[in-house]
C-alpha cells in the first residue's frame, strides 16, 4: 500500500475564494492509501515547501499530491522539493485546481469549485498510485559543432564557438568562404568597405586551430540526434590537392582558357583554374571541370606542368568525410530571384539593365572595373542611373509577397556610391515605401536624398526599353499622380531575396521545418529565434528570412551561444517521458516506426546466447524520443507504453472519474 500525502493550496484567496480547500483535504483523507492531508495558504512559498518536505519525512510518504495551480507553473518546484525530501520526483503530481477550477468557476458558495477540486484530486491520486519512479535520461554530448554555410553568419558562429573553446567544422559549398558579403562594395550605413571588414574574419577562421574548413563541400547526410549527430560531408573534386597547394597562383597565371565568373555575376571572365576572388580563403584554386579542355578532351594540362608542388590531379574524384558533432548551426544564406522573370524590365536582353549585386561588383574596388561605374554596353560612365526597388518583392503575382528588407538601404547606398564616383551623375530611385528601420538607417537614406541629390520617385516602373542607345524607363510618380518617363544610361534592379535552391532538400536531411518560401522555421519567431524544433540544430542569417549584415552577425553569435550552452555540458539531461517497448510482446509489425515523428524507433535484433539474432523487436532511442506517445496509440499488440503517461495511469484516472 502506497503512502500518499495530499497538500491543498489556498493560493492566498486565488483558490480559497471559490474552493473550500479544507473540505477537499478532508475528503481526500477518506481515501485508502492517503495517510496525510493538509491545506495551506501558499504551498509554493518556502515555508510551504518546507512543510511538504517535513511531512514526507514525518509520515514516511512515498508519493505526494499538490492540488494548486497549473503544473506548467510549479510542477518543477514541488518535484524538486519532494526529491530533496528523498522521494522520486516523478512520484509527485500536481492537480490543477486554480487555472482550471477556482478561477473559471465563480460560485461564491464554493460548492462548485469544491466538488470539482475533489474530483480532480481524486483522479490524480488514482493516477499517482500507478506512477513508477523514473530517473532523468542522460545523453553523452560530442563536444564539437558543425556550421553549414561560410557566409558572414556562419563565420561569426564558427569563430564564437571556437573562442568558446569548442571544435568547429565549417562547411562551405563554394571554393572560398565569405558568401554574398564578399561581393559587396561598401556597407550601409557606415560605408566601410565590405572586404575590409570581412577578410580579417575569413583569415581568422582559416587560422583558428579549433576550426576545420571544408570548402567546395556539401553536407550529404545527417544522422543521430542532439549531442550525437553523425554528418557525412562530400568534398567535391577540386582537381587540386589541398594539402600540397601553396597558393602560388602560377597555374591560374598560365591557364590559357577562361570562362564567365559567377562571383562577378557574369560581368567579367576568370581562368578555368581559378579562385573566386583574390582574397579567397582558402587560397587554393579549383578547376572548372566542364570548361577544362584537359578534363574534357585530354588537351592542354598546362597547369599541371607549371605547378611547382605538383598538386594538380585531373583524376581526382569527390571524397567523403564523416564528422561526429553535438550541435549543428545552419547558415546557408540567400540568393537572388532571377531577373529574367520580369520581361518588362528587359534584364538579360538590354545590356545596361543590371542587378543590384552586379552594381556592387561595379562599385567594388576589387571588381571588374576596379571600382569605376561603367555601363556594360559601351563602358561609358552613365550620366544617369535609374534604380528600381521591389523587383519581385511585395509582388504576389510574379514574385514573392514579402519585403526583402535590405533593398531600400542598399539602393540608397548605391545612389551615394554612384554620386561619389560619377560626380555629375543623376540617380533616380523608384520606391514604394522607404523601409529604413534600424540604427542610423533613416538618417542614411535622408543623406542620399538631401546631400547626394538622389531623386526619389514614389511608384513602380511599368516598362523599360531601349531607344537610340538610351534605356527608357516608364513608370509613375504616385505623389504627383503622373506618368514618368526617364531616358537613362543604366538601370539597376533591386531584386528580391529568396531562399537558396535546395534549401528544402537540406531541411529534409536535417529534419527542420521551412515555410512556403523555403525559409527555415524558427522554434518561436520571437522567443526562440535561432532554434529549430529539432533539438541541437540552430539557425543563423538569411536562411531564416531576408537579413542584413548586423542581423546575420547577431544571429550567428546567438546561435553560437546556444550551441556552446549545449556543448558545455558533459551529458544532457532530459525528462524521462519517453516510450518503452515490451520486447516480450512486440510482434515487429513496425507500425510504431512509421508513426514516430522523430524516427526514434529502430529495428532491434534479440540475440540468443550464441549471439545469433532470433527475433526482431522495436527499440526506442531515448535520445531521440520526445515522448509524444503516438507510437503507444498506434501499437496493435499494446507493446509500447509511455513513461509518465502509461495506459495504466490514464485508465486509473478515467476510472476515478
Amino acid at each position: 500500500m502506497p503512502r500518499i500525502g495530499v497538500f491543498v493550496c489556498q493560493c492566498g484567496n486565488n483558490i480559497a475564494a471559490t474552493v473550500d480547500t479544507k473540505k477537499v483535504a478532508e475528503e481526500m483523507a477518506q481515501l485508502p492509501a492517503v495517510v496525510h492531508v493538509t491545506d495551506y495558504k501558499f504551498m509554493c512559498s518556502s515555508p510551504g515547501q518546507d512543510m511538504l518536505k517535513k511531512a514526507i519525512k514525518e509520515h514516511r510518504l512515498d508519493s505526494v499530491i499538490v492540488s494548486a495551480c497549473s503544473p506548467h507553473m510549479h510542477e518543477k518546484t514541488f518535484r524538486k522539493a519532494s526529491e530533496a525530501a528523498g522521494i522520486n520526483p516523478f512520484k509527485c503530481e500536481i492537480t490543477n485546481i486554480r487555472e482550471q477550477c477556482s478561477w473559471v468557476h465563480h460560485d461564491r458558495t464554493k460548492k462548485t469549485g469544491t466538488r470539482k477540486s475533489i474530483d480532480l484530486t481524486r483522479m490524480t491520486i488514482e493516477r499517482l498510485k500507478r506512477n513508477k519512479p523514473l530517473s532523468t535520461i542522460k545523453i553523452p554530448v560530442k563536444k564539437k559543432a558543425l556550421v553549414i554555410g561560410g557566409g558572414i553568419a556562419g563565420i561569426q558562429a564558427a569563430l564564437d564557438i571556437a573562442d568558446g573553446g569548442r571544435e568547429v567544422i565549417l562547411v562551405e559549398k563554394e571554393p572560398s568562404i565569405g558568401g554574398n558579403m564578399a561581393r559587396l562594395s561598401e556597407t550601409f550605413p557606415t560605408m566601410d568597405c565590405s572586404q575590409c571588414i570581412l577578410t580579417p574574419k575569413m583569415v581568422e577562421a582559416e587560422l583558428n586551430e579549433r576550426i576545420t574548413l571544408h570548402t567546395y563541400s556539401e553536407v550529404e547526410s545527417v544522422d543521430g540526434y542532439i549531442g550525437n549527430f553523425t554528418v557525412k560531408i562530400r568534398k567535391k573534386a577540386r582537381y587540386v590537392i589541398e594539402e600540397l597547394c601553396t597558393g602560388c597562383g602560377e597555374c591560374i597565371e598560365k591557364c590559357p582558357f577562361s570562362a564567365q565568373s559567377s562571383f562577378e555575376m557574369g560581368l567579367s571572365k576568370r581562368k578555368v583554374i581559378y579562385t573566386p576572388f583574390p582574397q579567397s580563403v582558402p587560397n587554393i584554386p579549383v578547376i572548372d571541370a566542364p570548361n577544362c579542355t584537359k578534363i574534357q578532351k585530354d588537351k592542354c594540362g598546362v597547369c599541371a606542368i607549371v605547378c611547382g608542388p605538383k598538386c594538380i590531379d585531373f583524376k581526382q574524384e569527390d571524397r567523403f568525410v564523416t564528422e561526429e558533432v553535438g550541435a549543428i548551426i545552419v547558415a546557408t544564406g540567400y540568393e537572388l530571384m532571377p531577373n529574367e522573370r520580369f520581361g518588362e524590365y528587359g534584364y538579360g536582353r538590354i545590356r545596361d539593365v543590371i542587378s543590384g549585386m552586379q552594381f556592387e561588383r561595379l562599385a567594388s574596388s576589387s571588381g571588374p572595373t576596379g571600382g569605376e561605374i561603367r555601363r556594360p554596353s559601351d563602358g561609358k560612365a552613365p550620366e544617369s542611373v535609374v534604380f528600381i526597388q521591389c523587383v519581385g518583392s511585395r509582388d504576389e503575382k510574379k514574385g514573392v509577397a514579402y519585403c526583402s528588407k535590405v533593398c531600400c538601404m542598399y539602393t540608397a547606398k548605391h545612389t551615394m556610391l554612384y554620386r561619389h564616383k560619377v560626380k555629375h551623375g543623376k540617380a533616380y530611385v523608384f520606391y514604394m515605401d522607404i523601409r529604413s528601420g534600424g540604427k542610423r538607417y533613416e538618417e542614411f537614406v535622408r543623406r542620399a536624398i538631401e546631400h547626394d541629390g538622389a531623386m526619389y520617385l514614389r511608384g513602380r516602373v511599368s516598362r523599360v526599353y531601349e531607344r537610340n542607345g538610351k534605356v527608357v524607363v516608364q513608370g509613375a510618380d504616385t505623389l504627383s499622380a503622373s506618368q514618368v518617363e526617364i531616358e537613362a544610361d543604366m538601370v539597376v534592379l533591386a531584386t528580391a531575396i529568396v531562399a537558396r535552391q535546395g534549401a528544402d532538400t537540406l531541411a529534409q536531411r536535417l529534419g527542420i521545418g521551412y515555410d512556403k518560401y523555403k525559409f527555415y522555421n524558427e522554434y518561436h519567431p520571437k522567443l526562440r529565434p535561432v532554434e529549430t524544433v529539432t533539438a541541437g540544430i540552430f539557425l543563423a542569417g538569411a536562411c531564416i528570412g531576408p537579413a542584413d549584415i548586423p542581423d546575420s552577425v547577431a544571429q550567428g553569435s546567438a546561435a553560437a551561444s546556444k550551441a556552446l550552452g549545449l556543448l558545455s555540458a558533459d551529458e544532457l539531461q532530459r525528462e524521462p517521458v519517453v516510450a518503452k517497448v515490451n520486447e516480450a510482446t512486440c510482434n515487429a509489425c513496425w507500425d510504431c516506426l512509421t508513426a514516430c515523428p522523430y524516427s526514434a524507433i529502430e529495428r532491434h535484433g534479440l540475440k540468443n546466447r550464441k549471439g545469433t539474432v532470433v527475433r526482431m523487436v522495436a527499440m526506442v532511442n531515448e535520445g531521440v524520443c520526445q515522448g509524444c506517445g503516438v507510437c503507444v496509440a498506434a501499437c496493435r499488440s499494446k507493446s509500447i507504453d509511455l513513461n509518465g503517461y502509461t495506459d495504466e495511469q490514464v485508465f486509473a484516472a478515467i476510472n476515478a472519474f
Partner: protein
C-alpha cells in the same frame, strides 16, 4: 484641398456596387502606380488609374465619376498584366462606365458621328465604341 473622411463615404453602397460590378477588391491596391506607369492613355486622364483606385478607397466616388478617365480606358489590360497585386483597373473603369451610362447619359451621340467615318471604320471599332460609350 481638405477632405473630411466619413464612414458613410468610405463604406457607401456605391463603393460596394463598384466592387460588385468590377469584381475587384479596391482595398487590395497598395498604390504602387504600376498601372499609371504602363497605361497608354494615363497621360490624358484627369485622374490616372492608381489615383482612381485611391479616390475610391477614400470614398470620393463623385470626383471619379466626374473625371474623363473611364472614357479613355481602352481595356488594353496592361494595368492588370503588370499589377503586382493582380488588380484590374480596367474592370473598375468598366464598372464606372456602366454606373454613369445607367443614368441614361451617353458619352457619344451616334448622330454626331460622321457618315464618312461610319463607312470607312472597321465595324469592330464602331460596335465596341457603341458598347463602351452608349447606354
Amino acid at each position: 484641398m481638405k477632405i473630411t473622411l466619413k464612414k458613410e463615404d468610405l463604406e457607401s453602397p456605391l463603393i460596394s456596387q463598384i466592387e460588385r460590378i468590377s469584381a475587384e477588391d479596391l482595398q487590395k491596391c497598395y498604390q504602387c502606380g504600376n498601372c499609371t506607369g504602363g497605361c497608354p492613355v494615363s497621360f490624358a486622364m484627369e485622374i490616372p488609374p492608381h489615383q482612381t483606385m485611391r479616390m475610391l478607397q477614400i470614398g470620393r466616388t463623385a470626383d471619379v465619376l466626374a473625371a474623363n478617365s473611364m472614357w479613355l480606358c481602352v481595356g488594353c489590360m496592361q494595368c492588370f498584366s503588370r499589377c503586382p497585386k493582380g488588380c484590374s483597373v480596367a474592370n473598375v473603369f468598366e464598372a464606372l462606365r456602366q454606373l454613369s451610362l445607367s443614368k441614361g447619359v451617353d458619352a457619344q451621340r451616334i448622330e454626331a458621328m460622321s457618315v464618312e467615318f461610319l463607312k470607312k471604320a472597321p465595324q469592330q471599332a464602331i460596335v465596341c465604341g457603341f458598347r463602351k460609350f452608349v447606354g
